[in-house]
């Protein structure tokens, strides 16, 4: 384990991506304490005003401070990302790990996954949101449903390989229970691809939340989200490009940093690059 941490920290992509992402997370966390402007306070005289020392990111079409709104959006976007990643990870791990031990369960679960994966992710999310109505919780539920199948598949395929390893057979010969084998021996050995996939799910969740909010199906105004700031900015793109630029930059920075970290993690945890 320590060797893996060391190897991950020696990977440039993981360190750079991780640092950028941590910076964004830090801003989301302590930003409102430092930049105490109310993101929902309207000041019509400042409508679409350009960036200035008082409002570094400028103001939006209701005269609200854009920096405060981007920070508030970060809390929403990253919050949704974390919640979706946690839900997807937990569900995917349980489904994937048990599917490899029960053939019938495997068939049922994997056919459901096949069905869900045959619909483009964003379309499925849009359909689910349209059904459930727009709210933060529904975004989390919809995106978790969208991303669980791919997570379950990755856990299952790796678990299938581990299950055939002689050391698992040795445990069966010793009389170990299925639960013991799954949780103490298979799950720890599927952690590497699992963690890598989790970072990608996080990135995709951030992106999809922005897309849903942009389409008006996600976070509802007046609450800020990177997606709905973009949506509002789209109409005034020429007059106030900063309304597009700052939330878009935030999305790109967080998704890029997560993908960078995920790729780095994959290289670091790949046993083929093991040097010990």
């Amino acid at each position: 384990m320590m060797a893996n941490v060391k190897k991950a920290l020696a990977n440039k992509g993981f360190v750079v991506g991780g640092c950028i992402f941590l910076a964004i997370a830090l801003i989301a966390l302590v930003g409102p304490l430092v930049w105490t402007v109310n993101p929902n306070a309207q000041e019509m005289t400042l409508r679409l005003s350009a960036p200035s020392p008082a409002h570094p990111f400028g103001c939006d079409d209701f005269g609200r401070d854009l920096l405060a709104r981007v920070i508030a959006g970060a809390r929403v976007s990253l919050g949704v990302g974390i919640a979706v990643t946690l839900a997807t990870s937990a569900l995917g791990l349980v489904i994937g790990a048990y599917a490899c031990y029960n053939e019938r369960l495997d068939h049922i679960l994997m056919r459901i996954c096949d069905g869900l994966m045959s619909i483009p992710g964003v379309l499925l999310a849009i359909a689910l949101m349209a059904m459930m109505g727009a709210s933060v919780w529904n975004v989390i539920i919809a995106l978790s449903i969208v991303y669980t199948p791919s997570m379950a598949r990755i856990v299952r395929s790796r678990a299938m390989v581990v299950k055939e390893e002689p050391f698992v057979e040795a445990l069966r010969v010793q009389g170990a229970s299925t639960a013991r084998i799954v949780w103490l021996h298979i799950v720890p050995n599927v952690m590497a691809p699992f963690l890598v996939q989790a970072t990608f799910v996080f990135a995709e969740a951030v992106l999809s939340e922005a897309a849903l909010s942009f389409l008006g199906l996600g976070i509802k105004a007046p609450d800020a989200s990177w997606g709905n700031i973009l949506q509002a900015g789209k109409n005034v793109m020429r007059k106030a490009p900063w309304m597009i630029f700052f939330p878009a930059a935030a999305i790109i920075a967080s998704v890029l940093s997560l993908n960078l970290a995920g790729d780095g993690l994959r290289d670091a945890l790949d046993p083929k690059t093991k040097e010990d």
Binding site: M1, E165, P166, F167, E169, A170, L171, R172, V173, Q174, G175, A176, R180, H185, P188, N189, D276
Partner: protein, 261 residues
């Protein structure tokens, strides 16, 4: 060696087939073990020798309960393991252990040596951590490993040391039968001799019976009391190890012996 009714393990008419890959809807089958019968007495070393595809490994896996037989019986001390459910079988599990050929995949790469040795004890219900620790240390000593190996990972050990650990793990719950599937084939000659000597010593001192599966006529002669020669899942010859090799009665056995360089 006379085999009487007190056989530890009596395998009768054991058959195992696998569906042929790519046979599609026609359901062709490949017979890995074909109407196989033999017996192992308590404390006996029975060598099962054959080439690849002879069904020798499958036989070992059937006896250990890693596969289910199509038909036939595996009677262990009066109980037929072949027809038992997983639950009924559980109390017999620790009495029949398995030693693998490839010691690099035989252990959870995330567990240290100590944990690897204590796990069978945990499964067997030994609750006292001090007792487990003590038994793990004495198991290490019994196979010629040191107490300092307790905190190592298996990949820090050499191939020979890992195979010693493999033996220690198989013996820690004091089984009555150990199935050794090509236990020294992956080792270098000089290390092979060390492990064979160790296995022989351990067998003598603990009185455990061994089913010794190998392709190597020299090794099987050295280790076994009796041997059975497998060919396409069938037992073609059986007898005292030295006799079979000195005077083979079956043409296939003769061919195997002639091919030894």
């Amino acid at each position: 060696m006379a085999v009487d009714s007190e056989a530890l393990l009596r395998v009768s008419h054991l058959t195992k087939t696998y569906p042929m890959p790519g046979s599609g809807f026609k359901r062709q089958v490949f017979t890995a073990v074909d109407d196989l019968s033999f017996e192992i007495a308590p404390g006996e070393v029975y060598g099962l020798v054959g080439e690849s595809g002879s069904g020798k490994s499958t036989t070992g896996r059937l006896i250990c309960g890693l596969e289910r037989a199509d038909s036939g019986s595996i009677v262990y001390r009066g109980h037929d393991l072949a027809t038992m459910s997983e639950r009924e079988r559980k109390p017999f599990r620790r009495e029949i252990q398995l030693v693998f050929q490839d010691s690099s995949t035989a252990f959870d790469p995330r567990n240290r040596v100590g944990r690897i040795l204590e796990e069978p004890l945990i499964i067997a219900g030994v609750r006292d951590a001090d007792e487990r620790h003590g038994r793990a240390l004495s198991a290490l000593a019994s196979v010629g490993l040191l107490a300092e190996h307790y905190d190592r990972y298996p990949h820090d050990l050499s191939g020979g040391q890992r195979q010693r650990l493999n033996l220690a793990r198989a013996l820690i719950c004091e089984p009555r039968l150990v199935v050794c599937d090509e236990p020294v084939s992956a080792l270098d000659v000089s290390v092979q001799a060390q492990v064979l000597n160790l296995l022989r010593d351990l067998q003598r001192t603990t009185g455990v019976a061994l089913l010794f599966i190998t392709h190597d006529m020299r090794v099987v002669r050295h280790m076994s009391d009796r041997i059975g020669v497998l060919y396409h899942g069938r037992l073609v010859e059986e007898g005292a190890a030295e006799d079979v090799i000195a005077h083979p009665s079956d043409p296939y056995t003769q061919e195997l012996i002639d091919a030894i360089p």
